[in-house]
Amino acid sequence: MKKLRLTFAISSLTFLVMLAISPLKDFFREWKWYQYEYNELVSDLPQRVKPAEIGIKQLWIQKLDRIDRCVTCHLGLNEPALREAKQPFRTHPKIDHDYEDFGCTACHEGQGSATTYRESVGKVVFWDKPVFPTEFMEASCAKCHKEREVPHAPILTLGRKLIEEANCIACHQMNGFEKQWTPSLDGIGSKVNRTWLVNWLKHPKAYFGKTKMPNFLLTDEEAGILTDYLMTFKSFPNNAALDGLPPALASEEERAKLLELGSTRFREARCISCHPINGRGGYVASDLGKVASKATAEWLYGYIKNPKRLQPGVEMPRYRFNDMELAAVVAYIQSEYVDYETAELPELPPQIPNPAYFEQGQALFKKYNCSGCHELGGMKKAEEMGPELKFIGGKKLYEIDFGSSNIEQTLPSYLVTKIKNPRVFSPVMKMPSYEFTNEEAQAITVAMLGNTDERIPEELKVYPKPQSTYSPQGEFGTLVEDLACFGCHTMFGRGRLVATDLTLEASQAQKGWISGYFKIPYSLRPILTERMPNLFASDAEIKVMVDYMEKVFIADSLERNIRAGRDEISKGRILYYEKHGCQACHQINLKGGYVGPALDNVGSRLKPGWIFHWLKNPQAFKPESIEPNNNLTDEEAEALTAFLMSLK
């Protein structure tokens, strides 16, 4: 009986002690120590900082359906006095969003509900969104910011640009990107020679360093078969065919006579504004440095004569060359832009003796989803798409197959590795190599991580401006199409920005000047590579364009009558040279700086209303302009305008 009592006493005591352990553990939780430490820290500060009340603190962000308890330990986020304090007490850097409106995990990720360091950072099993490393932080901006250029997020903006340029959406579905124009492959058999094509397929960047075409890591055999397959496509889109060479290009001697003319026209046409030559020159079109070893003379002749006939949609102007000039340019290209390395080598055998080359080549073409970018023989587009990436940023860790690689097991590191080395996780993967640099891979990863299916209230989202629907009609429209103006210029929000935005051109420049510019284009900044080419347009065509511009590319609000009396001019001269020191950047009569354009003949180029409004606020027209805004009064601006207009 005594033994029983003793046992009962001991077991009852142990029972009570065991049940008390857990509440006791609660009493000494990690976050409490941080709060004590914080209070000690702030009491030592010279400034008066309110100590924290001991207890779990949280931000409840109803609109984002998040509860973040990070502020239990991060106590000094709003406390300027703690800018230099150690973490977790340091002040939050200034950003455009108030953390009390958005919480912490909306941007930083991690486990907001947690109250211990390890769990809140989220690098624990069963939590798939650990705190974002700093270099990927901008991905969070992308959840709401869908616009093309996200303010204060250069990496994200670069990533989106790279994704669009690399035409990732040809294989992967993703929202918010535009499909890039890529050449049709119809007629490639009449365009290129076989040796070039084999080498191109094996390593496109060896021929043209900036090509968007990725390396599909083909074996020699695959490249050969694919080449044989492609070389069978001899006829161009819409059944266009090559005309054959004119007699002027038939023989070596005939061609030699044309070289000088060809060289002149090649320069006047400013081909290098768009085409680089061996890596130097423009960036919007392909390299011409070795083009004579790539394309046939017949194709060059036919293509320059009318680019869109052989390659619909291409943004190359149809130069108004006559037949002689055309032949001369082709002769010049043929003599100058030869690949001397492969020219010496014998041409690769025209066909691998493989009877099934067509089927095998077609299979390869389909396997690598070449039709995602390139049209060929009316084949269906994009049959073998890659995985959809609309919501790649929300991919769970357990859905990722890291293969046998030993990288850090996180989504960002997976994506960076995959983008840099697309087949590293499994040799059966098909994604080609784009040879991205580390920075590019990181930027693309950031942009992709922002593609999540997280529910964000619509009112928080920022969308890009709708696509411009501007499409000029009539004679002007035809000319714009034929001369590929959109390839360099933007008009009403449509087109590239290699050259100026023409939307307000007629408010800016005088009619006579524009007409003259079409005839003999010159650059205001001769240092630039991308200069306006001479299109050799006829007087009638120029008149059509100038008349249209006078009517459409003009804003009434920029009209202004400026009195240009002697007084105003001399007052303006004083303002120019003395008060504002404009000559520090601009030249007149070869005197002054080189930063801005020379102003010698500005009075016969620009309209006074434009000069006036520009002087008042240069950034209103060109946000990136470095011209200072001098806060001129209307009177000052008018005087300066009068002075500038006198420079005829």
Partner: protein, 236 residues
């Protein structure tokens, strides 16, 4: 001290609750059992033999003990739990991170539940191997088998409630097994259980109600019968 306690034991309040005095004589000891609602399931005297632990290994009693632990911890957990998607999961996180001893309660509930399934199964084996199912206890054996089934169902319905991957797929696999019952009966049964064709919010609510009300009440009734029968058939 003794005097104070003596006053307490003789006070009207005490006597109104406990009608017997201190259990210091065989009579009062018997009354302690006899007049106590909880203890009266026991006879006032038991065979000395049945005090020996290896007599039954106490498996049935311990199963009931686990049931008590589960009721207590489960009741406390119910205070924090909302059977809805996805709040259920966040409530698990809150239990872990915020609620005082929340994780401990959940651990206790979970491990006790697993232990109870094992314990009841072992109890069944003990009863079989000692031949205690033979007449006149054959009905109580059947009740016991039903209690085993109920225990498993209780554990199974509770398995879904945390609403994590383990829960979701554990239950999906389980209900897919039930679908194999022929004549469309399986489909009907799993539809009835889940309140739909897949495991979703409806299933969560149903499992919650089954787990916290229907099955425990059924269990209590069957346990009452089970214990009462044990006693009537000469057990403790």
């Amino acid at each position: 001290m003794k005097h104070v306690m003596g006053r307490l034991y003789t006070s009207q309040l005490w006597r109104s609750m406990f009608r017997h005095g201190l259990p210091d004589s065989n009579r009062t000891r018997a009354e302690t059992i006899f007049y106590n609602f909880f203890l009266h399931i026991h006879p006032t005297k038991v065979r000395k033999r049945s005090l020996r632990y290896t007599y039954t290994w106490g498996l049935g009693g311990l199963s009931f003990g686990l049931f008590i632990v589960l009721t207590v911890t489960g009741g406390l957990l119910m205070l924090y739990y909302r059977p809805s998607v996805p709040q259920a999961y966040w409530d698990m996180k809150d239990l872990q991170f915020v609620v005082s001893s929340g994780q401990f309660l959940r651990n206790m509930h979970r491990w006790a539940a697993h232990a109870m399934v094992a314990m009841v199964f072992l109890h069944m084996l003990r009863v079989f191997y000692t031949g205690s199912y033979r007449p006149p206890k054959e009905f109580n054996w059947a009740v016991g088998v039903l209690l085993l089934v109920l225990t498993i169902l209780l554990s199974y319905t509770g398995y879904l409630l945390p609403w994590d991957q383990l829960a979701f797929w554990g239950i999906s696999v389980g209900t897919n097994m039930a679908r194999a019952i022929p004549f469309g009966l399986g489909e009907k049964m799993s539809f009835l259980l889940l309140g739909g064709n897949i495991v979703g919010e409806n299933a969560l609510v149903r499992f919650y109600v089954l787990h916290c009300f229907i099955l425990p009440v059924a269990g209590c009734v069957l346990m009452g019968i089970h214990f009462w029968r044990v006693r009537k058939d000469g057990g403790v």
